[in-house]
């Protein structure tokens, strides 16, 4: 089923996709002419397939549950923010805060992602085929951020239990973020993730970063780190 945001308004399209009639069995949808509109496909909650042909604005696929959404273009701030499950693929680049606070599911960005990618992530897997901007994985709590390119300054600042894997260069690490050993378990995890996502990369070429857990409890000796 096709939608055209030149002809239909966003509410109409979102409402349809949020309440897909299971009996009709139409599970594939296409949206053309997104024209950078905000909140396209926000709040989807069914196991459906949506293809968006063009660039989207803020919060595309926000809070997604179960749906698989592919964007053939660039996305604005907060793509897949607070996503719970499902799979979002961005063929182009992503603006700030991609995958922010995501609890689950997978976000794949084939281009670059701007600053604060994966900020406060809570269990989502984010794979960026390009590079990520500064302060990515800031306060990241859980899940994996995998970057094939480089990471800009202050990666993983104040990170909790999320894991970061970077193949390229890391400009600098943020407070309490350290390089950690890539052990067999990590390599296995990454191998599994790549296999699931059909990505041909060698996990051994990645470095792992995570929390040194020094700032978990407020100690006066650490005050300089804040």
């Amino acid at each position: 089923m096709d939608f055209d945001l030149n002809k239909q308004n966003l509410r109409e399209v979102n409402q349809h996709l949020q309440n897909v009639d299971r009996k009709k069995n139409t599970r594939k949808f296409k949206i053309s002419n997104p024209q950078g509109q905000h909140a396209i496909c926000a709040g989807l909650k069914d196991d459906i397939d949506v293809t968006i042909k063009g660039h989207t604005g803020y919060y595309c696929a926000g809070m997604n549950q179960k749906a698989a959404i592919t964007i053939h273009g660039n996305v604005g701030t907060g793509v897949a923010e607070n996503m719970m499950s499902g799979k979002i693929i961005v063929k182009g680049n992503a603006s700030q805060s991609a995958g922010a606070t995501g609890h689950g599911g997978t976000l794949i960005i084939e281009g670059d992602a701007s600053s604060r990618c994966g900020i406060s992530m809570k269990g989502i897997d984010i794979v960026v085929k390009g590079s990520v901007g500064h302060m990515s994985a800031f306060m990241a709590q859980k899940g994996n951020l995998v970057v094939m390119g480089d990471a800009d300054a202050d990666l993983g600042d104040s990170i909790y239990e999320a894991k970061i894997f970077v193949k390229g260069k890391v400009k600098s690490l943020g407070a309490d973020c350290v390089e950690k050993k890539m052990n067999k378990k990590n390599i296995d995890e990454l191998t599994k993730l790549f296999k699931k996502l059909n990505i041909s990369e060698d996990p051994k070429k990645f470095k792992r970063y995570g929390s040194s857990r020094n700032l978990y409890n407020f100690k006066i000796d650490n005050v300089g780190a804040y």
Partner: protein, 435 residues
């Protein structure tokens, strides 16, 4: 203190003690509840009452409406509260499950709302609350679209009166297994939440964020924006511009679960002045009563509520006072207050997790001290008392609806309060600063 000894006005003994504490510990104080210093407040105003030019209403015979509709600007399903007194957002984590349940029970019986907090929605509180406002905070702990759809309204928290510009705090003692699980955090860490939202900065972004929240919830839920009293005129203006249905304004006296004392006492402006500025902004935009204004921060009595409403608020919200109705600072378990180094009437130790009366704790033994059913009844009684007081004052000023109270019904007892509330100093027609 001996009469013939002269205390340093600049260094009273409490200041000396604090300097020495700082010198020993090397870290600021973190504590709960609101400002302890005296600031101009609603006690500095009085009602004029009715006489020759205004007729009072009969106390037991003539009705005085207290209901209020919140969120009819854009939301398809605004909420209608029976009383204009709501329970403020206090997280499960900061408060125990029994306290949250008691608040829900009491508020529901009175036909008013409760609010979640920095830690997500619990099933107990959804179950016990007739109207539940779901907070969207910078941390987004436990944020979940299913809960968003279950809520009756959504409150985007930009700031809190106790700490405008500061993020949430919950010390390790309170991060037990359940709290940690709900927040996706390791157990026992000192949790310091972000102070800015992760996916928007500034009012233009917020407008888009609100559009997203509305899209996810079918444009049904009223959307509140909560701000700490920093620059209320501009903050209210920008909240209206960003598309709020309701603005929640929290003055500097507002309580907190855990914040630096220096933040509580020195950042933000008193509720009295903040409220007037917010009402000015709504009037200037021709949005007064169209975007509803809920005010909080130091509300204790029906008199406070009546005065806030006379100044232009549509409803109030209570945090600390509701906790006190649950027994916070009550004369019980005195030994346990002593162990915390305090006494009933002085306690601000919510951050320790060792609340002697079982309100602000996750310790199962202490929590048992609060029976949610009995405590729920106390909340109901307290809200009933506040409502009766509010109606008494409204009738005394000749009003058949509490929202008809107006600034003309008020006089100020101090020059400061006259200037902040912009009502005349009692016995004069002088409003400082008004040409």
């Amino acid at each position: 203190m001996k009469k013939d000894l002269k205390e340093f006005k600049t260094f009273p003994s409490s200041t000396i003690k604090e300097i020495q504490r700082a010198a020993n510990e090397g870290i600021y104080q973190i504590r709960g509840l609101g400002a302890k210093r005296k600031v101009p407040d609603f006690d500095d105003l009085v009602f004029l009452g009715a006489s020759m030019s205004r007729y009072p209403l009969e106390g037991y015979r003539e009705t005085c409406n207290t209901s209020v509709i919140l969120g009819d600007r854009f939301a398809k399903k605004p909420i209608k509260l029976d009383i204009p007194i709501t329970i403020a957002g206090m997280s499960f984590g900061a408060l125990g499950a029994n306290a949250k349940e008691a608040l829900g029970r009491g508020a529901s019986e009175m036909g008013t709302s409760t609010t979640t907090g920095d830690g997500g929605m619990t099933q107990e509180e959804r179950g016990s609350s007739k109207y539940l406002v779901y907070q969207l905070l910078p941390s987004r702990y436990g944020m979940n679209p299913d809960d968003l759809r279950k809520a009756d309204a959504i409150e985007v928290v930009v700031g809190q009166g106790a700490k405008p510009g500061g993020g949430g705090m919950l010390l390790g003692q309170k991060i037990n297994k359940r709290v940690a699980g709900m927040r996706t955090l390791p157990e026992g860490i000192d949790q310091r939440s972000a102070c800015r939202h992760p996916d928007w900065t500034g009012p233009d972004d917020l407008e888009i964020k609100i559009q997203e929240l509305r899209e996810i919830t079918n444009w049904e839920k009223p959307i509140y924006i909560k701000v700490g009293a920093a620059r209320p005129f501009y903050d209210t203006t920008l909240a209206v511009k960003a598309g709020a249905d309701v603005v929640v304004l929290d003055g500097m006296q507002g309580g907190t679960a855990a914040t630096q004392d220096v933040f509580i006492e020195h950042v933000g402006i008193p509720t009295l002045g903040a409220l007037r500025e917010a009402v000015d902004a709504l009037k200037e935009l021709n949005m007064h009563r169209k975007v509803q204004l809920i005010v909080s921060g130091g509300i204790r009595s029906g008199a406070d509520i009546a005065k806030a409403m006379a100044m232009g608020a549509d409803a109030v919200s209570i945090g600390s006072a509701a906790m006190m109705a649950l027994n916070c600072n009550a004369d019980l378990y005195i030994e346990d207050y002593k162990k915390l180094g305090t006494e009933p009437g002085y306690c601000h130790h919510c951050h320790t997790g060792k609340c002697p009366v079982g309100v602000a704790t996750q310790d199962p033994k202490l929590e048992k001290r609060l029976n949610p059913i009995e405590a729920g009844k106390r909340i109901k009684n307290y809200l009933t008392t506040l409502t009766l007081e509010l109606q008494t004052l409204a009738r005394a000023n000749g009003k058949s609806d509490v929202r008809n109270l107006e600034p003309e019904d008020l006089a100020a007892l101090t020059v400061e309060a006259a200037a902040m509330a912009r009502v005349p100093l009692a016995g004069t027609d002088w409003i400082p600063g008004k040409k």
